[in-house]
């Protein structure tokens, strides 16, 4: 399996919405490569007839009643209590389009 390039580090940071400083870029480049080198050992395992494990409970399709009640629901002021950037009970977000029409 391939090692990672410095251009990959920049690309991944963009995908993950992280801004990295130059020194973080070069530090992560070295550190992530050493971890990838370590996990490449998995190549040697024969998994040709093996199903993947995504969870260990064996439970499937667990449902609950879709109840709406005063006890389990948060009030609007609780939902918005984590930020000051509120307008009429809505969260204010940055503009994502580059031009106003």
């Amino acid at each position: 399996m391939a090692s990672i390039k410095i251009s990959d580090i920049r690309h991944i940071a963009k995908l993950a919405n992280l801004s990295l400083s130059k020194s973080q870029e070069s530090r992560f480049f070295t550190q992530i490569n050493s971890v990838i080198e370590h996990i490449n050992v998995l190549c040697e395992v024969d998994t040709s007839d093996v199903e993947p494990t995504s969870q260990t409970t064996g439970l499937e399709n667990i449902y609950r009643e879709d109840n709406v009640d005063a006890i389990s629901m948060l009030k609007p002021n609780q939902v918005t209590s984590g930020t000051d950037k509120i307008y009429n009970d809505f969260f204010v977000v940055d503009m994502i389009l580059s031009e106003k029409i």
Partner: protein, 469 residues
Amino acid sequence: MIMDIPSTINETRDGLLSKKYRVVDLINAYLAKIARYDGQINSFITVCEENAYKVAKKADKLISEFGEKAFQDYPLLGCVVAHKDVFVTEGIRTTAASKVLDSYVPCYSATAVTRLDNAGAICIGKLNCDAWAHGSSGENSQFGATKNPWNLKYVPGGSSSGSGAALAADFCLLSTGTDTCGSVRLPSNYCGVVGLKPTYGAISRYGVIAMASSLDTVGPMAKTVEDVEMMFQAISGPDGKDATIASVKYQSKNSSFKIGIPKEFFGEGLDDEVRNNLDSVIQIYKKLGVDFVDVSLPSTKYAISVYYVIQPAEVSSNLARYDGIRYGNSRDAFGDEAKRRIMLGTYVLSSGYYDAYYLKAMKVRTLIRKEVSDVFEKVDAVIAPVAPTPPFKIGAKANDPLQMYLTDIYAATANLSGIPSIAIPSGFTKNGLPLGFQLMGPRFSESLLFDLGKKYHKEISYKPSVAKL
């Protein structure tokens, strides 16, 4: 003010019933100790003095009104607990030890917190940890590293660093932690306390800030196996809010026990003092009539590699929600370790690498699970070291993430296969640092692990010790 802080739930109850002290006196004593010594240890991020006194006064009223009967309704009445700061607590700041959440005040509480409150426990504060539970040493906290109370130059183990350190320093009677790959067992081991990584599906994670959802478990920590068992009884079972939780009747067994010794956990890299201590533990169990057989878990050598694909993948997804819009600060506030894991996770999930890394790791996880379940066809439990070495010095692995990750080499198997594991203290190194071991059992075998732990401690007449500060 009382000078001797009780070290178990029973001692606390006996002292309260015999009027040796009131709950308020206990709070005074714990808070005084925290105020005097936590500056050196840094185990608390938030101390909830006001809340503690408020609840303590109610507890004192209950005891004076109902006496012993109050403890039937509230089995943990008057017991002081502190929560790892990844458990959300209504009205009490919850940071995950990250600057992203440095001013986040939740409007609801985690199930484990609510259940401990309902059992009569008193929350005295929120504990330091590696930020987002990412780490093995406690050094990744953005609120400063926690120190090991047994020697301030050493790490207390992570990620539930404050949960181990606060118990060892007698800042609380009980604590909560989370274990995604050893994060309860390692600080328990390094601080000389008892910690349970339960079966995946035993304790609700509702209200626990998620790290890697297919591996995360909530773990009770205390100074004795009995107390961890009482906490487990109080917090386990379905709550209707975490769909992975099963309704189980926990049972031990009456017949003789057989414990497996997996050779892969005793190989190269295991410190001599840890090995010798484990040998002495095995001798004690043999004296008690427990049979030991050699077993093999050959895929153990891949466990940490599997973990360092699956965990960052799930971390990158879980931490994607922190956008600084609804609560918390922007993603710029993430520390290096969180960024590193998000990057690694994003990489192994990205187009062209998903099959090679993520899918492959999930398949090797299947092989590890199968080996583990095959071993439990032959034995009741498996004994192993918690970590390859005793506590290491602060800074020793700080600049080498891979070496830090390898600290968890013996922890990963239990998380990847979803089985329970209990960390039990078993002495000290010649330098006075704690030693311990872990017992792993099949899924939902917690009662059996508690029994085995209690047998060992009874035989050695174990008394919890507190670090001198």
